[in-house]
């Protein structure tokens, strides 16, 4: 299945709960304010690297761009997708749990 996270990890516990309850092998997509969790050098970087061992992790490019976040500074292993990629992930990995 696909898990989306749309809140900043510095504001809410949304990402933590997602990572705790996402089963190994499920897919995670960071969108909206959730994209801040994808960046290198944050206090959640080690958490994201840990997540990459159990999950494919994606981040939505347009949301990075809108926030001035540099795609080249995304944590290694997190893949950037566009809106079409988001749709493909949802179709290929349903059901979708939107962590709000």
């Amino acid at each position: 299945m696909l898990h989306t996270v749309n809140k900043s990890p510095f504001d809410r516990n949304t990402l933590d709960t997602c990572l705790r309850l996402a089963k190994k092998g499920s897919v995670i997509l960071l969108i909206e304010d959730g994209v801040y969790a994808a960046m290198q050098g944050t206090r959640v970087e080690s958490e994201m690297k840990q997540a990459l061992e159990d999950h494919d992790v994606y981040v939505l490019g347009p949301d990075l761009k809108a926030r001035g976040m540099d795609e080249s500074k995304v944590v290694d292993g997190i893949q950037t997708v566009d809106y079409g990629g988001f749709v493909d992930l949802a179709v290929a990995n349903g059901p979708v749990q939107a962590w709000l």
Partner: protein
């Protein structure tokens, strides 16, 4: 043709899907909890297979003893006790969320099944549709 399809034709209804409602917000600070209840009742009215899951601050939605008189909002917590009449009987609560908040099953207004992390993972993976509040 399987039996399920035959039944659909006879009943004229659509197929029954499993719907999981994930509740993660406390009851009165935002409208999420009340909206979730509304949508749960709609799902039940359409005779879908409904399950409710309470995680994080969502567990406060079903805390006993709510009294909203002084905040001039409707206390909708009795509604959770009425869900049984709508055949909504699968209420699950995340054990870690309860424990973090110093709560036990005895603090809850309805009978629930308390689940650990692995059980919740499997529950989510098994659903047709997940609606998150």
């Amino acid at each position: 043709m399987n039996d399920e399809m035959m039944d659909d034709e006879e009943g004229g209804g659509g197929e029954v899907k499993t719907f999981l409602y994930v509740n993660r917000k406390a009851p009165y600070g935002t409208i999420y909890a009340l909206e979730s209840l509304e949508v749960v009742l709609i799902g039940a009215a359409f005779e879908q297979d409904v399950t409710m899951l309470f995680i994080d601050d969502g567990v406060y939605q079903i805390k006993k003893g709510q009294d909203t008189a002084s905040i001039e909002m409707k206390n909708f917590s009795p509604t959770y006790r009425a869900l049984e009449m709508y055949d909504v009987e699968k209420l699950y609560v995340d054990r870690d969320s309860l424990e973090e908040r110093g709560l036990t099953e005895d603090d809850l207004i309805v009978p629930v099944e308390v689940m650990d992390t692995a059980q919740i993972q499997d529950l989510m993976e098994s659903q047709d549709v997940i609606l998150s509040f």
